[in-house]
């Protein structure tokens, strides 16, 4: 009964996450059409998220298989890479520190190289759920997020809610992937709780994305001076 409730909660929260992802994608599409170029990286990130979810759902419903296998692992790999590229692009756009701009390019290239090299030598990893790439890329994104938060405390301009959402998501995802190697013999309830704690920050992330976008829409409404 307890196990069933937890799983049911996870299912519900997963559905909420998918709805919020689509809503956030629509909001950011509108913002981009309105000319908000700062939101372009988040839009691209959401686009890759929607694409991955769509492909995963299609594979689950047997619409197609990848290289003869029913797995969405290649999309997971692709998403991990795109997530790193687009979120780095976001932080590049918003962080104003000149030292950051100087070392940004090199740090991103080095991390991508370290992240991708094992997959080049061992392409079968792409068809497995290898956490190497996210484990290599997320710490740098977490560093960018922390740095941006410190900058936000000094200035009035910026996107605090996007950043805090990213911080929650990146932090919990990093821990979630780190423990994936230690699932053997773990009670199912603990696994469900872990998955719930992985999905819950994603719903928080998309809620905060939508909130930041709503703030932008509100700022575009002409204010009365009377």
């Amino acid at each position: 009964m307890h196990h069933y409730l937890m799983e049911s909660f996870l299912d519900h929260i997963s559905t909420v996450y998918q709805v919020l992802l689509i809503l956030a994608f629509i909001c950011y599409t509108v913002a981009i059409v309105m000319g908000k170029s700062d939101f372009k990286p988040i839009f691209l990130y959401l686009l890759s998220g929607v694409f991955t979810e769509l492909m995963s759902n299609m594979i689950t419903r047997d619409y197609f298989v990848v290289l003869g296998e029913k797995t969405n692992a290649p999309f997971f790999f692709l998403f991990a890479l795109l997530q790193f590229v687009f979120l780095s692009y976001f932080f590049k756009k918003v962080i104003t520190c000149p030292i950051f701009s100087k070392f940004f390019k090199y740090s991103v290239i080095i991390v991508v190289m370290i992240g991708i090299t094992p997959y080049i030598f061992n392409p079968s990893w792409i068809l497995e759920f290898s956490v190497w790439l996210p484990l290599m890329t997320i710490p740098l994104l977490l560093f960018f997020s922390t740095y941006y938060f410190i900058e936000l405390l000094k200035y009035k301009q910026g996107y605090p809610f996007i950043n805090i959402g990213l911080f929650i998501m990146l932090g919990t995802t990093l821990i979630f992937f780190m423990t994936m190697q230690f699932y053997e013999g773990v009670p199912p309830d603990v696994k469900i709780l872990l998955r719930t704690l992985h999905v819950l920050p994603l719903t928080i992330l998309h809620t905060l994305f939508i909130y930041e976008c709503v703030l932008y829409f509100k700022s575009q409404i002409p204010q009365s001076t009377t």
Binding site: L152, K156, F161, F167, G171, T172, I175, T179, F182, P187
Partner: protein, 268 residues
């Protein structure tokens, strides 16, 4: 061995759960901390804005009061100097209509009318001159100030004056502002300072026009003695995007140093 592995993996996962909950709670803390810090920044901004608005209000109120005083002065001048004399002219003109008047009486009336008309013209010219000195328009600030200095200099007051400002590099509105500032300073010196020596020096550096004004009067120390005239000076200096420094104390006269940027445009 399997049992030990099971405990170990479960513990690792529990630690992970704890860490994930910690990150979520930490992020909530970040949101609260961020909102509080933004509130503090906003409050500080509002305080600065309030001060700026108050300063603008002060300048506006000083401007309005000065305008009203100027209007009252013009109205008084028109009433006392012009209207009174025009009444005399009108009265004498009416008297001229009397047929019983002798030639001598008529000549006397005509002389009175001529004298009153001449004085009226002189007064009208004076009022116009006070509003906008024609020499300022025609020959520029240095010439206008030379005229002011000549009109004030006498046994009681010695004025050391020099001006090397280029008339053509200074538009007429700006020249009028500087002229009014110096008029105000001279007015203060004559009215309150009990000074017998004044120095007005207008020179320039590579980037700025410099105006130095000092007198050897009684000076002042109390801020309350800074009146409407001084606020007027401040607002004109602001308009010219300039700055000024005042040094004074009881018994030591005043020293004003004004600095105005070259190529200034008050409407920028």
């Amino acid at each position: 061995m399997r049992f030990i592995l099971q405990i170990s993996n479960t513990s690792i996962n529990y630690i992970a759960i704890g860490l994930m909950i910690f990150i979520i709670l930490f992020s909530i803390g970040m949101v609260i901390f961020f909102l509080l810090s933004r509130k503090r920044i906003t409050e500080a901004d509002l305080e600065v804005r309030d001060t700026q608005i108050q300063a603008q209000k002060d300048v506006m109120s000083a401007t309005i009061v000065t305008q009203e005083k100027e209007r009252q002065r013009i109205a008084r001048d028109l009433h006392d100097e012009i209207s009174a004399k025009l009444n005399v002219i009108a009265m004498n003109t009416n008297m001229l209509k009397e047929e019983s008047l002798s030639i001598a009486e008529r000549e006397m009336l005509i002389t009175r009318i001529e004298t009153a008309t001449g004085k009226t013209l002189e007064n009208a010219r004076e009022i116009a001159h006070n509003l906008l000195p024609p020499v300022l328009e025609k020959f520029g600030l240095c010439a206008a100030l030379t005229e002011v200095v000549k009109s004030l200099e006498g046994n009681d007051l010695k004025i050391n004056y020099s001006c090397d400002w280029d008339k053509d590099q200074f538009d007429s509105d700006n020249q009028l502002h500087i002229y009014r500032i110096i008029q105000e300073l001279l007015n203060n010196t004559i009215k309150y300072a009990r000074a017998n020596e004044v120095s007005i020096l207008l020179n320039q550096t590579e980037n700025d026009y410099i105006l130095s004004y000092n007198d050897n009067g009684i000076g002042f120390q109390d801020n309350a003695q800074i009146g409407l005239g001084t606020s007027n000076i401040s607002s004109r200096v602001d308009l010219l995007k300039g700055s000024y420094d005042l040094q004074t104390s009881n018994g030591n006269g005043v020293v004003y140093i004004f600095k105005f940027p070259k190529n200034l445009n008050p409407y920028d």
